[in-house]
Symmetry: C2
Subunit: 141 residues, 2 copies
DNA sequence: GTCATTGCAAATTTTTTGCACTGCA
DNA sequence: TGCAGTGCAAAAAATTTGCAATGAC
């Protein structure tokens, strides 16, 4: 999602684009595909804005997730990771390597059939999260 | 997984079946399909064994997950939930209701195609976790 | 006796909250 | 001036760890 669209979304929901929010969004934008944790985001933002507080980072991430700009996902490590949400589609899937902990993405969806099945049973699907655990190419030696 | 098989698994891995571990396993067995959190398990075990400590519960759950008896899953609520692992197959999928928080299970797998695709790219699949978020039948009014 | 396991309390880690303060509309 | 937003410090929630005591073989 381009930052411009994020600003619009914040306006729509009556929130301001403050320097702190902007800095956090920039860090996220510069690290697309990195699946950063709040702690990582905090440290990176702190470099360009040394006075920012951890609470602001958490509040901002919560806000951005709340208005649909970010995804907040747990990869079963006891902490959340954040990334931009695709505008219209469901979130993509993740490959988590049990060896090195790397997180890759896959774009294939292929869950239509399964979701059709679920909806047929009366569950209204909003989103999904698929995490595949295994060994990445490097860790298979 | 029948408890008998769990005991075998503990023996194989050189761990004892202590009264505490047994009590925790019983609670889990009596609440199949409930996706209990550590806190919930602790409270239920405490009823039949008032002296048990929270740390023992956490250590036991960690142990059982480590030897493959339990699944430790995050449903993005900031805490883990535990359930028995199916013997051979991957874990089943979950439907989390964004209205009431209920967690249902679905047995369909239907991820073979996607996993084949992933493996074709060199990632060795060990397990997966699919959580579908939406509205359950009750919460759609 | 040995050694895995336990209970307790303290510590850690992650996230949230209270509150006074700031700064733009 | 009003009020959303912020920084800081304290609190809360979830989990882990240190350590002395226990108890099964």
């Amino acid at each position: 999602m381009p930052l411009k669209r994020v600003f619009d979304r914040l306006q729509e929901t009556e929130h301001k684009v403050t320097p702190q929010r902007l800095a956090i969004l920039e860090v996220l934008a510069e690290n697309q595909g990195e699946h950063l944790s709040a702690e990582q985001i905090f440290m990176m933002v702190k470099r360009r804005m040394p006075n920012i507080g951890m609470a602001t980072v958490y509040r901002t991430l919560e806000l951005l997730a709340g208005v649909g700009v970010l995804h907040k996902t747990s990869f079963d490590e006891g902490r959340f990771r954040y990334e931009f949400r695709e505008a219209d589609r469901h979130r993509h899937h993740h490959l988590v390597c049990l060896g090195c902990g790397s997180i890759a993405e896959i774009e294939e969806d292929l869950l239509y059939q399964l979701e059709r099945e679920v909806e047929r049973k009366g569950f209204k699907v909003v989103d999904h999260s698929l995490v595949i655990y295994g060994k990445c190419v490097k860790c298979q030696s």
